[in-house]
């Protein structure tokens, strides 16, 4: 059983470990950020790639150590997240547990809370989004609820920050054992009680009874908990499994219903008794935004709306960033002055100016340094990392866009609207979230496939998601496209995205057909909660955006920096480890020349071929590094200038862009493909698919483009 314990923190103040749980969408991340002041440490839960967020806060001389548990609906152990959450709770690591309930839908979201109370007594029940109850016509008598549940209840709002101090006080009170329950909550399961008692007798003999409260264990076993059964089998306690299964079947025979169904019903009944007279709804008016749901759920209008919405958001982002595509349109209409103005004062244009300015200043400052150090600082650091940092505004804008879609609640509506279309290629609306995330970064996107209920569908997504161009590739696409004049650049950008999505769809379709032939595939299905649509909350949007900008800056400062440094070193030194007289005599060039023949079909001269091959090899590690490496090779400030200096032809640029869009995005993506699929075969398949498709599309693009230009 859980023992009572408080640790002495590093600072000498007492540390209180606080677990935070809640159903999806209740506002857990928001509250967690507020409680911890966003000083958060992110790691993985042991042995799995589910993220574990931890944060700290001092309060009245105590050091509160918050641990964010995964957002789950209950403790059925049907998902990895549910297992993680409950194992954490029974581990005794937490002194206090806070369970969040969405004030705007208390009846449903409290289901997790009472399940938590069945398991862990030192719990505080927190109603989130209290600023919204008024508008929803909901009144909640918190004090009466606290009396009925026997644990403290508090209402908070992350928007107005009311209730936060009170919550912090309560955490300390509960940790010190001043208030709260001594024992877990006991819910009556009616007709199942005799069965539960019998299972308790059986479970007593099991070694698992040391890890869990006995009654809870019995209830879960009767519900057919897969994880517990697996653990029993692993420990060689097969006889216990057999006896439990016998009782389970008896229940099914007698009541003609499965125990888990009866238990869920009894829990909800218990809940409705608990909230009777405590949660009062004055009026249940349909949401003001219900029309939005109707639009997105419409079979034709819905998908068109979603696609138009996403495309126009991207165009807005592009325009703010580089003036594209309006600069080109203006230019072609004969307003080249206006076009230039737009380009110069776009965020990207301003950033470029800043970097040119900075490199000028640094150039002056390092004038007296030894030659190699000058080269390292100017070519390696400023050239390489600077070429990547030009794209900071772009990263920021895409992150902002995704944050708005996410926080406003539009994102799941888009999922609903595209479900039918996606079903045709064997994936469900659940895939929309990973796909949109992919436009930012493939790594979290592949991790987000975990919410996909079908295993084969998930595996197909893991293999194909990397075809969706992430921001890193967008950076390269833009750098390449900008080297083209006029409408060519619009065409290449459009072609990149169309080509990428088309490839994603065709490959998915092909894998789906294969799976169906093998008899693996199920029809894609959808079961998704739609949180209320609301105006985005600026604070939340900022947090989400800043997180991904920070991620990019960190990456630029570490991985991209290191890769660029290695790329620089390989180009600076010759195989005899003395400075190379010519770039083409460097170690890097030697390696690149091995691969350069692969680019023969594109009719490049030798220099063009090995330099591009070198950039592409470096790009295998981190795609952003392609631009830095090209700038380094050509000795220019930006990759676009590099491409112009090196003199690639228009069809070559188009073909190379397609290759970059479709081949392996980065080493991190491969690592996560492996960790999520747990299969070497799947990872190799992904690499093979991407390389071969990218290569074929590159050559096809070159051949076709050469015909027209």
């Amino acid at each position: 059983m859980v023992t009572y314990r408080m640790n002495l923190g590093k600072t000498g103040s007492q540390e209180i470990v606080v677990g935070v749980i809640g159903q999806p969408n209740v506002g857990k991340s928001t509250l967690f950020n507020l409680l911890t002041g966003r000083k958060v440490h992110v790691a993985n839960w042991p042995g799995v790639t589910v993220e574990k967020h931890e944060g700290w806060r001092e309060h009245h001389g105590y050091r509160l150590h918050f641990i964010d548990l995964p957002g789950i609906y209950g403790f059925s152990a049907s998902t990895l997240e549910e297992v993680i959450a409950r194992n954490f709770i029974v581990s005794g690591e937490a002194d206090v547990l806070i369970v969040l309930i969405d004030s705007t839908a208390p009846e449903r979201t409290m289901y997790l809370a009472i399940q938590a109370l069945e398991l862990f007594p030192r719990t505080i029940v927190v109603f989130t989004k209290s600023d919204l109850t008024h508008a929803h016509g909901i009144h909640i008598n918190y004090e009466a609820l606290a009396n009925r549940l026997g644990v403290p209840v508090v209402s908070v709002s992350a928007v107005t920050e009311t209730g936060i101090d009170r919550l912090l006080d309560l955490i300390i009170e509960v940790a010190r054992g001043r208030i709260g329950r001594g024992k877990p909550l006991k819910i009556g399961y009616g007709e199942l009680e005799p069965f539960i008692s019998e299972v308790e007798e059986i479970a007593k003999r099991s070694s698992l009874s040391e890890d869990y409260p006995l009654r809870w264990l019995a209830v879960r076993l009767l519900e057919g908990d897969q994880e517990l059964i697996r653990r029993l089998e692993k420990r060689g306690e097969k006889d216990i499994v057999k006896e439990v299964m016998r009782l389970r079947n008896e229940v099914i025979n007698v009541f003609k219903r499965r125990p888990e169904e009866i238990m869920a019903q009894r829990r909800f009944e218990y809940l409705s008794k608990i909230v009777e007279g405590i949660v009062v709804r004055v009026e249940v008016k349909p949401g003001v935004y219900e029309w939005i749901d109707k639009v997105f759920a419409h079979p034709v209008i819905g998908s068109i709306t979603s696609i138009l919405l996403l495309v126009s958001l991207f165009i807005v982002v592009f325009t703010l960033n580089t003036g594209f595509p309006f600069n080109i349109i203006l230019e072609n209409l004969g307003y080249s002055g206006a076009a230039e103005y737009l380009e110069e004062y776009s965020l990207g244009g301003l950033m470029e100016k800043l970097i040119v300015l900075a490199s000028g200043l640094v150039e002056g400052a390092v004038a007296g340094y030894p030659q190699w150090l000058q080269s390292l600082i100017l070519d390696g650091v400023i050239g390489g990392v600077g070429a990547v940092l030009v794209f900071l505004p772009l990263i920021f804008l895409v992150a902002l866009m995704l944050a708005i879609l996410e926080d406003s609640g539009l994102s799941p509506r888009i999922a609903v609207s595209l479900h039918n279309l996606l079903s045709k290629i064997g994936i469900s609306g659940h895939a929309v979230f990973p796909i949109t995330l992919s436009l930012g970064c493939n790594v979290p996107a592949i991790m987000a496939t975990r919410a996909t209920p079908s295993y084969r569908e998930r595996l197909r997504l893991i293999t194909t998601l990397a075809f969706i161009p992430c921001q890193a590739r967008l950076v390269v696409i833009l750098a390449f496209a900008s080297a083209l004049r006029g409408l060519g650049s619009i065409a290449v950008i459009a072609l990149s995205y169309l080509g990428a999505f088309l490839t994603f769809m065709l490959v998915n379709k092909a894998l789906y057909i294969y799976d169906r032939k093998k008899g693996y595939a199920e029809e894609p299905e959808l079961l998704l909660e739609l949180p209320p649509i609301h105006k985005p909350i600026p604070k939340v949007i900022w947090w989400l955006t800043w997180d991904s900008v920070k991620h990019f800056l960190k990456k630029a400062g570490t991985i991209i920096f290191l890769v660029t440094l290695v790329a620089w070193a390989l180009l600076y030194f010759s195989p005899s480890l003395s400075p190379a007289k010519e770039l083409s005599e460097s170690i890097g060039a030697g390696i690149a020349k091995l691969f350069a023949p692969l680019l023969i079909p594109l009719n490049m001269n030798d220099t063009q071929a090995w330099m591009m091959a070198y950039a592409l090899i470096v790009g295998f590690l981190a795609k952003e590094a392609v631009v830095g490496t090209l700038a380094l090779l050509a000795g220019t400030n930006t990759a676009t200038d590099a491409i112009k200096t090196l003199g690639y032809s228009d069809p070559q640029i188009a073909a190379l862009t397609m290759f970059i869009v479709l081949y392996v995005p980065c080493a991190a993506t491969l690592a996560v493909v492996y960790s999520e699929s747990r299969s070497f075969k799947t990872t190799l398949l992904t690499i093979a698919l991407m390389l071969s498709i990218a290569y074929m599309v590159m050559i096809a693009t070159y051949v076709i483009a050469s015909l027209f230009i």
Partner: protein, 79 residues
């Protein structure tokens, strides 16, 4: 009261209400449905049903979208 004929969720028109009789979905789905409040006796309101594509329902104050295949597994009694 005469028992109304039972039907499945995906057959109900928008605006109508029904009481859940039982669900008959494979394991993983059925756990999730139960956790989301689709328990016998729960009242569901159909928000959107266009005859094709996912349907939208309200249950326990929350809007949920269901694919037609899942919805077909939920037996209900119209009210």
């Amino acid at each position: 009261m005469a028992a109304r004929p039972w039907t499945t969720l995906e057959a109900l028109p928008p605006g109508s209400r029904a009481r859940v009789v039982n669900i008959n979905a494979p394991g993983r789905w059925s756990y999730r449905l139960l956790q989301m409040g689709f328990i016998p006796g729960a009242i569901i309101e159909i928000v959107v049903n266009n005859g094709v594509g996912p349907i939208l329902v309200r249950i326990m104050g929350i809007t949920i979208s269901l694919g037609r295949g899942i919805a077909r597994r939920i037996l209900v009694e119209p009210i």
